[in-house]
Amino acid sequence: MESLKDKACIVGVGESAFTRGSGKTELQLMLEASAMALNDAGLKPHDIDGIVGPPLGASAEHFAANLGIEDLRYSAYVQMGGASPVVALQSAAMAVAFGVANCVLVPCGWNGYSVMRVSAGGQGGSGSAPPGPLAATIGAYYLPYGAVAPVQWYAWLATRHMKLYGTPFETMGTIAVTSRKNAQLNPWAYMRGRPLTMDDYLKSRWVSYPFRLYDCCLETDAAGAVIVTSPERARDLRRPPVYISGVAEGHPYPADDIPARPDPFVIGLTFAAPKAFRMAEVTPQDLDFAEIYDCFTYVVMLQIEALGLCKRGEVKDFVTPERIGLDGELPVNTHGGLHSEAHVWGINHIVEATRQLRHECGERQVKGAEVGLVTGWGDFGDGGLAILRR
């Protein structure tokens, strides 16, 4: 086998309601999304024989026990924060391509508002230290100086970019305003009915300079699920398959400390993007839309440069309302993203890309969409991407 290109496809997607107060466990939310994905595909729970489990909230075995999967042939986890769901597609595609499993479920979700927030008594999601290798770095070297949250760490990158390249706040604002505009056309979006202007953006309060309130994504209770199988198995299923044409992961170096990086703008996606584009045999110019992980506005801009959509320092010229809007050359975050749809660790970006490529998106449909990009970003800049096609 030369590559994973088109060796696996997404055949089912599902999402829980996006709320602030689900009243359910994370496992419940993810099981609901999984059941919707199964129904979407026309598969039965017992058809699932592989699970790439979520980075938190439940194990693959919890899913197997609930879904009645007696012979779970493949289970794995991806610990890359918000890059986990898109990188899970790589694991799922490998498992399917080599016949290790036939149908792989990728669930992800959390009570990001009602349980995880620091102010709700939680350990924090977007608000404090994640577990794993980062915890040691944070606890020993960042914590005493009050740098404990993603909004603070990623701000170091944004500040430097703004000062070196003259990147204006309005570029970040364009990301926020465009996401919110797209969300107005998305019945699932948490921020539907609440438009945002550039003036609103520029007047919003500081959280951690250079990030204002509207540079930050939502905190929501939400889950999503995706089902991956082979093109052969997809033939007699309910929906047209969406092919995983290119997929790759990447890690910044070193991954466990942001200040130590020789070039702070070299992120996981910098390594991953060329591999995925090569695998898919497409160029950035071939993309009909891009769902770019948007925990913070600048993180979208950082990824746009890392993807090679524009050169280093030129994102201020690339990101215009005309280009990234729904009718533009490269619509970005057509569902509203983490900013305006919901924070579902980016699995909602995969769900949206799938629906766009199935031409199911109604008012926000990108006309004639054939090829789309999904990225993930997590922890201190881990990254992944999938290039999907119908």
Binding site: G124, Y141, Y142
Partner: protein, 141 residues
């Protein structure tokens, strides 16, 4: 001394386990030291078991000049931990030392709005508790 550090020290202390305990032991002696490979001479921070350049397990804790420059910063207006609330706005900064390593710290005598890329700084030591000393920086003129 930064606001909020007088009297009983209420901010979180560094978790001093493993090599972090070594790093802060030197800080307590008012010495800023980083690991340096004794085979190829490469400086590193955060501490590691191996030299990422040459693969050696051999290193020393070599003394830094303590001189560096501001590499980047953020200005926190909304503290994520309640202990930091009395300090806002405060500015966690990344400082690049002359030896090439970078670390997170504060520049104590510069207002957040006055920080700039490349601003020359030098280390100062803040004995925040009898057990813990934090390396901080001040403007170098």
């Amino acid at each position: 001394m930064a606001a909020g550090t007088q009297g009983e020290y209420k901010l979180p202390l560094p978790r001093m386990r493993g090599p972090a305990a070594e790093f802060y032991k030197f800080c307590k002696a008012h010495e800023l030291r980083f690991q340096r490979c004794t085979d190829c001479g490469t400086w590193r921070h955060i501490p590691r078991d191996m030299c990422a350049k040459c693969g050696s397990f051999n290193f020393e804790w070599a003394r830094s000049s303590g001189k560096g420059a501001v590499f980047s910063w953020t200005v926190v207006s909304q503290p994520m931990l309640p202990q930091f609330a009395p300090l806002v706005p405060y500015a966690p900064a990344v400082v690049e030392l002359e030896e090439g390593v970078r670390m997170v710290s504060w520049v104590t005598d510069v207002k957040p709005d006055d920080l700039a890329l490349g601003m020359p700084v030098e280390v100062v030591f803040d004995d925040v508790t009898p057990e813990a000393t934090l390396p901080k920086f001040r403007r170098r003129r």
